[in-house]
Symmetry: C4
Subunit: 235 residues, 4 copies
């Protein structure tokens, strides 16, 4: 089945519009993209356009290197970060970046989001990593591309699977999430924001709290993921 | 009067739909059930279905052991926890499980929610207990059933009456509440979430705060419950 | 001009309905009353009735001692507190009681709400006092009436003017506010809740913060109150 | 092109109405103005009028010294602060004052809002200053005018450019922001409120956090401002 570019544009447009309804963005502070290997393209939100004015035909289409193929508007300035992640991780199909409040709290604090319970384990198999801040050289050469490099470096160093830990917070900046589809990437953004808040409250209530036991984390993650998952309905 | 199964399905469906309107759930993260001893059944939400798409005919009907009698969809994966509580406590008629944010904060922190005032005492006669986390063996044999066992163990050890303290938080997981009806169980979930927040704020404002005096707790609880209650209207 | 009882019922009903829209109550956790000396009556919300079902004809009318004159429903269980305050303070015309979250935080913490800025000073001329918890004897004899006595004791001991400091939090319980009219009493409840939150955030950001200088407090209070007020429009 | 006074009134009215929709004000606690040098006037919200009742014809028009030219209503009591800022900074075209909760938290705490990340740097080139509280003499002579003087003193002492740092919090009081237009001033108020919250959460999560590195701050600010900006669409 050949993929339909108009369907992708429609889907990316819709996924972008869900960001404000999930409370993840103010103004134009977030973007969603989808990659399609059959068509050899990435479809992404135009930069600085309000979500409620966004139409499918406003989406910007680029090749897999981020060169614009179609669209009159500038793509999101974060496009090079999306390109870097898609190139490294062919298993993912959608990426989301936001400045959601609680996630930014951890990004600015420069800390991994600890895994304290099952809400977190249902979606992220372990702590949500905090990537280091970019160096002056990285910022001044290709800032948005290097943001992608820093994320990939963190996953390589920690030997993490991007589908098992589908998100990160970049120090001094904010969260990036991904998934097999743009819809899953948005879902993961919403979960990241919620568990970021839960972890903050948890430490406030008990400053000496320890992470969730590994067997509980394993159980909850595999209840929802993999061959033996039994949550939800068979699709 | 013979109970009408369709009425129960309708009531359970409606009770599930109130979870997002009370701000207690995101996505599909919560479930409500009702037990009926006359008909010998439990009616519960199907697993992973959105609240706004839920129809009475989607509810799953099981016998009192949790074996499916009616319904094409999988029941909530937490069904065995509901079954365990109904078996132990014939006085309750409805159960609710959510991942509401403030309650999860206490669950993850591994602390009982202290009773600091009358809002709490109006509904819960004492601190809201935090049950221990499950052992590796419990998790790996029958996780959801053992979650029920751990809750019952906590109530037995502390000699608590489930109608006087109609809820608990399970360590590293989240809140479970119950009541004579599903509506009461939902009400108790909403109160638990609110007093979880109030207790957190109270400790932030005064880290050395002490629990409410027993005579105030008694007064407020019995103003609303039991033979001498005088709050509200005679029904 | 003779006061019209139906107008008062309508006003009290409307004032009660604004409590949830200001975010001050959940379920039925709050009540508003008005006193009328010409008609010799108090009009108050019935106990335990939902705000969205409240109609003017549901309001309960009592004499100035709280004896029911008119109405088929039970009055708010807090009626004796309202009666006690009206008897002591003929200058007030309306009273509000809620369990609003941030105010309850201070009540449960057992602390006065400090005055840290102009938002507070625009409405409350000084800290918002926290009244002591009731003794066992007070609770067991006439709980709701004694709640009023404890509030009055606090104002007498501190030599406070109830129109200059139109509210209090009662320890382990929650806020009471009042004003010349029910509308003003509701406004004061909303301001109390907001400054309760602001004071909490202020102490979180700077644990060694000092109260607002007296000359700033005086200026802001008298900008809005008294003969030389110049905020707003001439009515 | 001669400016149209009716257009300005309409714009100022609309900008005022966006304050509650951005969650920046309760009741009547905020005001927006615009200055026009061609027409030699300032257009500002009337004092104490509800936002939902505000009509363009209700706006108050003054000369550049704040003397009323047109309008039956009293102008916002903060008018003299607006006048002082417009006189000192001809590069700004609109001013906003609110009592937004998180910003007031920092104002009351008497602290600059530290710059911990890119959300802040996208809009404010450095920490958001906290101006000192007014002296007793300043309060008693010309309070609102002196509030402007204190803001200007802070910017002069710190050698700050009002378009690079388009806002401040005044100690014990609250935030003032500005911009080339009223719309930009409102946007800056919303960003100030959001970064005030983010900075509070950041310090809660990591009490020893350090400010964002200067090269990241520079990058984000200049991505959106100045000749080399590349965020958004070419207008």
């Amino acid at each position: 089945m050949v993929k339909d570019l108009n369907e992708i544009k429609k889907r990316v447009c819709e996924a972008n519009k869900t960001l404000p309804s999930h409370g993840l963005v103010k103004f134009t502070w977030g973007n969603v993209s989808e990659v399609c290997y059959e068509l050899g393209c990435i479809v992404i939100k135009p930069s600085g356009v309000d979500y409620d004015k966004l139409r499918p035909e406003d989406m910007v289409v680029t090749d897999l290197d981020g060169n614009i193929i179609e669209g009159d508007l500038n793509p999101s300035s974060d496009l090079p970060t999306h390109v870097a992640l898609y190139k490294a991780w062919p298993e993912i199909g959608g990426i989301v970046h936001t400045h959601s409040t609680e996630a930014v709290g951890w990004a600015q604090a420069g800390r991994d989001i600890p895994i304290y319970g099952t809400t977190h384990a249902d979606c992220f198999f372990g702590p949500i990593p905090c990537a280091r801040s970019l160096t002056e050289e990285e910022v001044n050469t290709a800032y948005e591309k290097e943001t992608g490099t820093v994320i990939l470096e963190e996953f390589t160093n920690r030997k993490l699977d991007p589908l098992a830990v589908p998100g990160i917070v970049v120090r001094n900046h904010g969260p990036f999430t991904w998934g097999k589809t743009p819809e899953q990437a948005v879902y993961n953004s919403a979960v990241l924001e919620e568990v970021a808040k839960m972890s903050r409250l948890t430490e406030q209530i008990n400053p000496r709290v320890q992470p969730v036991p590994k067997h509980v984390m394993d159980k909850h993650y595999y209840r929802k993921h993999g061959a033996n998952a039994y949550y939800g309905q068979k699709s």
